[in-house]
Symmetry: C2
Subunit: 458 residues, 2 copies
């Protein structure tokens, strides 16, 4: 019996489907089997309907060859803050149980039309805006969080329950689950993908993003979503010996207790590996203006905007009973941040964006921590302290895994590029992943998968 298709990457199963060596029905059955085996241990899905999946698989299989899109043969999990045509969309809120928006968010619509098999909706924290209370467990260790708010997407991709998944980031909700689950993600340039049909927490911060176990899969997804650089990067990546990297600790690094020893170790080891490959690596201090973003402005915007966008839930006496205390407080605290202060935060950041782009253009990538450490124990989904600056700067971020912490949990690092250089950043990430990817493989906890299954592919 051949290996289950759920252990392959999207690019691999797409190739098999193109050769008629894999039907979508088989792809569906393989993934459903993995779900049935692992769901009790991971609980990544808010909505998973086997009958709907099999029906959708049959529809895809019945398409004439010329109508099969570029994602025909791939599977997708959709974060449950994104509207979907044929499934409920709850936004992680008890007030929206069974809610059916009746259409796909444009992002989902494009992917569905490209032939992807949507398996279900993945668990999110409430409105992607709280930091607790998700049922999802880390596939490596059920006592630990998979991170959030894109909890289910990160865990499901890691656990081979889907090949691709969608998430969103307002603070650190794409990169954190990628690091905690040891997978790739790209948070592309803000406004490079339509955010229509996705629950709003903050217009200026919310950024949809993509998870996969393969960088090739992420490159394919960007292409399908029409995200491309003005100047396409060369097909053949330049050798690392021609590459320049800046290591940026940010002001967060020196804050008390940040980062953990495991991140310090990954920091040093990752740099050593790049230098051994001949890359030029230097430390970079972005300076006070950028550090102010971390110190308050991102927080002011995120908090004020949540207070604005959840005001309706607060004003509805029924929904309010379901609203997390943290969001009740954001609505009530909004008047504590004056609009003058809010505008100051909003207005002071845009000038930094082209300044950062100009800095980042001098390097092949900027390297920075994804998280302060391994996925912590318990249900709190972790901090966005290392991610906030990049979210507010609207720049593309790729999490590259490869390192292990003291407890055998994955630790990733973030590569950052200038805005609208997403393709270039993924190309550089491939080169970097070649030297980082299995750096600490023997130190990682085992996952329940058959021998020979590749955990990650470049």
């Amino acid at each position: 019996m051949p290996i289950s298709s759920s252990y392959l990457t999207a690019s691999e199963t797409i190739a098999l489907a193109a050769k008629d060596e894999l039907s979508i029905l088989q792809l569906a059955r393989d993934h459903i089997a993995r779900f049935e085996q692992r769901d009790p241990a991971v609980r990544a899905w808010e909505h998973y309907d086997r009958e709907r999946i099999l029906k959708e698989a049959a529809r895809l299989d019945s398409l004439p060859k010329e109508k099969r899109g570029p994602l025909f043969g791939a599977t997708l999990g959709v974060k449950d803050v994104m509207n979907t045509l044929d499934m409920p969309t709850t936004y992680g809120s008890k007030a929206y149980q069974g809610h059916r928006p009746g259409s796909d968010a444009p992002l989902v619509h494009v992917l569905r039309n490209a032939g992807v098999l949507i398996l279900g909706k993945t668990v999110t924290t409430e409105f992607a805006s709280t930091m607790d209370n998700v049922p999802t467990l880390n596939p490596y260790d059920a006592s630990r969080t998979p991170g959030g708010s894109s909890s289910g997407s990160g865990a499901a991709v890691r656990d081979f329950q889907c090949q691709l998944a969608l998430g969103t980031q307002t603070g650190g909700s794409m990169v954190r689950p990628a690091s905690f689950n040891g997978i790739f993600c790209i948070k592309p340039t803000w406004n490079s993908i339509s955010r229509d049909g996705i629950k709003v927490s903050s217009l200026i911060l919310d950024t949809p993003g993509l998870y996969a176990r393969s960088l090739t899969d992420l490159q394919l997804l960007l292409k399908v979503l029409n995200v491309h650089d003005d100047v396409p990067p060369p097909m053949l990546p330049k050798p690392l010996s021609d590459c320049r990297f800046a290591y940026v600790k940010t002001v967060v690094w020196d804050s008390e207790g940040q980062p953990s020893r495991e991140v310090e170790r990954a920091w040093a080891k990752s740099r050593q590996l790049l230098e051994e490959a001949g890359a030029h690596v230097e430390d970079l201090d972005l300076g006070q203006d950028f550090e102010n973003i971390v110190n308050g402005r991102h927080a002011d915007i995120m908090s004020w905007d949540a207070g604005l966008n959840f005001y309706n839930e607060y004003e509805d006496p029924v929904n309010r009973r379901h609203l997390a205390q943290m969001l009740v407080e954001k609505v009530e605290a909004r008047s504590a941040i004056s609009q003058k202060q809010y505008l100051h935060a909003l207005d002071s950041i845009p000038a930094l964006r082209p300044r950062f782009d100009a800095i980042a253009e001098q390097y092949d990538a900027i390297v920075t921590p994804s998280v302060p450490g391994e996925a912590p124990q318990g249900t709190k989904t972790g901090t966005h302290i290392f991610n906030a600056m990049w979210t507010v700067l609207h720049v593309p971020c790729v999490n590259v895994p490869g390192f292990a912490g003291e407890n055998g949990m994955p630790v990733g690092l973030t590569l950052v590029g200038p805005r609208f250089h997403d393709e270039r950043l993924l190309t550089v990430s491939r080169s970097v992943a070649h030297v980082w990817l299995h750096a600490d493989a023997t130190e990682l906890r085992p996952l329940p998968v058959p021998e020979g299954v590749k955990m990650l592919q470049i």
Copy 2:
């Protein structure tokens, strides 16, 4: 028999309902009667279901007094780009006929919870992003456009078919219909009202707004929506003799054929009226930096963003057949605007926002044209040439009607204030409306309403 409640303002009928002198059922019946009489001539509604309205009215009437919200006794039309719980939402697109999103956009949710009676969905141009092909006719003259994209909302409020209505503006889609239909509107500060659940055309431009025949009604709506200045304006407005106004023509004024003689006349007459009331009025030239906004940057952003947000419609072979040729072209033209050029537009504007705020704070209001002239004949909804700058600056705008053109059609002017001074701007608008409001009343075409009906109230 008393006058139909459809001819009263929301504030008036709310007061009657509070004294139990008007039931919501009667309010509903009065409005339905007006609809039945006038719909063939105006065609403002995309969805209007008498049974649903009467059922909703009965529900509201059955509420115990302590659960009646601040809009109990008022009627509302909702632009059909906003999601609604109990009605279809078509976004003005044939691809979304019968689409039911199953929840209210937060803006609608807050108003519904405040007790407003939602009468139906008003006609919009396709995705609020085209400039033609609406069935709605101008209530003053069926050969003329009511403007767009908020075509139905502007016409229905003018025609006494609802008291309040919601719209959106990406170019000039709030202010233009207000001027063409001779009513008040406020396009509040960007991001002062949640835009979640509203179809996206451009994240950074789209701004939800409010229509009414009374400034008191607009003040009430802002209060219910929790839009307030940091420092509330004084209860008693200052006399016009203490007020300073800047008249800003913008570079558009001198463009060929802009504006018409009727706007030039309104411009001179409005100024004369303010000066006669003792106000200080001066001309103001905002200079080259601001004019660049009009000359291309707003257009670049609006066009690029539409190409981004309607890409899914373009990629879907079924939906694409319904997509306006103009939007097909935007999707295809997106790659013609480089991302570098797009970022230049996006990055060069934010620094102007606090600069404009500082200028606007020196005046009680800035006065500027709403439109180049009267509502034109035919089905084209008109140009946003005078509105684009204020949209991209995110500043609050109020259309104050009062003037008439050569053909007896309404002509309004726009008052502009600094961001998050929406309350102050409405207060100043009251003072201004006192001297402008019926300046040209005798020159306006008559509307089919009973004698004694007040067309507008301050």
